[in-house]
């Protein structure tokens, strides 16, 4: 665990972001969710979010979403200064309503995926992804 001064500062900032989510970020995620759902009720089933429990590299974290019957899926990083990660829209000819991408995470936080189904209902999945300093593995 040796760090250059620059790394140290960067990680100290990351850690600070992780431990206390700034109010603005909390508001930003709420805003992003209600903008997508129009304030409608959001269910918990019908969407699968696959992300690592602990990120191997916070700068490029793989994430996969799948929601059969979805018209569009939005991915949000709740702890990033700008929570929006991606919005996937599926046309009528889409073979599967699933997508994967990579995202950058500022620190340990929840990743949220919300699907808008073709019937107009919404489903949400949420998972904590840890961004850690690492080291010291047994």
């Amino acid at each position: 665990m040796s760090f250059s001064r620059r790394d140290t500062i960067l990680m100290a900032l990351g850690a600070a972001a992780a431990t206390t989510l700034p109010m603005s970020a909390r508001a930003a995620i709420e805003d992003a969710i209600s903008a997508f759902t129009d304030g409608a009720e959001v269910g918990e089933t019908g969407i699968t979010l696959t992300a690592p429990e602990i990120a191997e590299n916070g700068n490029t974290v793989p994430v996969e979403v799948s929601a059969p019957g979805a018209a569009s899926i939005i991915i949000l990083a709740a702890g990033n200064p700008t929570p929006g990660v991606a919005t996937f829209n599926f046309g009528p000819l889409a073979g599967a309503q699933a997508a994967s991408t990579r995202m950058r995470l500022a620190g340990t936080q929840d990743v949220v995926a919300i699907a808008k189904m073709e019937d107009g209902s919404y489903a949400q999945a949420r998972q904590e992804v840890k961004v850690t300093i690492g080291g010291c593995g047994g």
């Binding site: 665990m1 040796s2 140290t8 431990t19 696959t50 602990i54 590299n57 010291c136 593995g137 047994g138």
Partner: protein, 565 residues
Amino acid sequence: MISRRDFLQASMAASALVGASGFGNWSKLAAQQALTQDQLLEFDTFGNVSLIHITDIHAQLKPIYFREPEINLGVGDNKGAVPHITGAEFRELYGIEDGSPSHYALTYNDFSALARTYGKMGGMDRVATVVNAIRAERPDALLLDGGDTWHGSYTCYHTEGQDVVNVMNALKPDAMTFHWEFTLGQDRVRELVDGLPYAALGQNIFDAMWDEPAAEFKPYQFFERGGVKIAVIGQAFPYMPIANPGWMFPDYSFGIRDERMQEMVDEVRAKGAECVVCLSHNGFDVDKKMASVVTGIDVILTGHTHDALPEPVLVGDTILIASGSNGKFVSRVDLNIQNGRMMGFRHKLIPIFSDVIEPDAEIATLIDEQRAPYKDQLEEVIGQTDGLLYRRGNFNGSWDDLICDALMSEREADIAMSPGVRWGPSILPGQDITREDIWNVTSMTYGRAYRTEMTGEFIHTILEDVGDNLFNPDPYYQQGGDMVRIGGMGYRIDITKPQGSRITDMTLLSTGEAIDPAKSYVVAGWASVNEGTEGPQIWDVVENHIRKQGTVTVTPNTSVKVVGA
């Protein structure tokens, strides 16, 4: 699969048999100083399949002393559950008599005295004898290596794992999975795996670029044994690029990937597997959770967290086997598989008492051949110790304190940090410390001892971060190491608190003053996962320090206050 009732009957039958012919009995006999190889190996062959499990050898080809942990705390659902039970409570749980060989092998109390009575444990030549004896009874028994094999000694470092590979190949395993092996660097790992005469498995080893299964490592291997179609699925250590330097193996990505584990189980079952074995390096609590999430695995052979359990742990229809570390134990698991169902099992954790089990002559010669070019270097005496040097435990062991002292004095630092790894054999009071002994607790491919400045706030962040890797109540967020060892600084940890509020009362021991978050402190440490770390090799730092001391004095470390255990 198996109904609860079938399974209870099976497990009761098995535990009765273990009581009669296995664990309980040899401890009693040995208390009368009548421990023999035949008793250690005694086993009524059962069913139609035998598994032999060894794991976390850490390149210890020769017998060693290894003190099991005093403090091994469980959190969340695992509070007070095995393997988070130590000492007298452990002995009571398994009916182990005080002062017996199993007391010595499995618990920490009176370690120095019992070590003198019962001697060193392990040695791959003794392991070979045990493996051969099992194969004599069951010629097609599967030998499975759980990984952390090609790491951890002077000769392993200098031959880049070749010494251990040569010895293990002679034991003829059937499959292996991985962790520290990757710290040899991805080119060397590929070179060794390419020539491996047995399966290199890891369903969770992925290509980092494309996020798809890595070509060099198969997810599973089929075996036909005793007329039974067995699938062995590999699970490598999930957090390799986080706990170890990812820049050494940038082409690979890992993770638990339990949804793919389920897919693999379903796939092998669909291909006709009658028995599914998972050869895992997840760590015990992670395996326990995985067993509750993934259905269809009969046996998980656990590794990584170095736990040795005399009885299997049942999770649903899956049995979990924990076979210890450093070559101290070999597990034998016999299974009765009928019509694609596990109808029963018999298990024995075989302790490798090196003075009781005859070394296999062929393997003994092979081991000595690997060591011969380095003999003088290995055997050079650097100093002595007046107390027991050990590492294993959630917080500082005496070996760690010695390493931290070496870092602070040789690198002129206020505070020292040493990684909370679980490997590293023990040295008894009065014993010589050889160069080999120092390498056994420090050898790695990223051992540079750095010296840097850190603010009090940043030191706190590190402790919180590592603390969460150990005490997060969800096992999937645990990395399986112990707490980072600190020299020159005391602290209080409340393991029940969330990340960010576990660590308080950080105190600089030299002045007794509280650590100032804004102030910078000179910190020396080793095993940085960052590329380009500069400094002398840790084994040279420790050797210089011990040489200056002559005889090392071990003083009890009371600088960490643990709350909430």
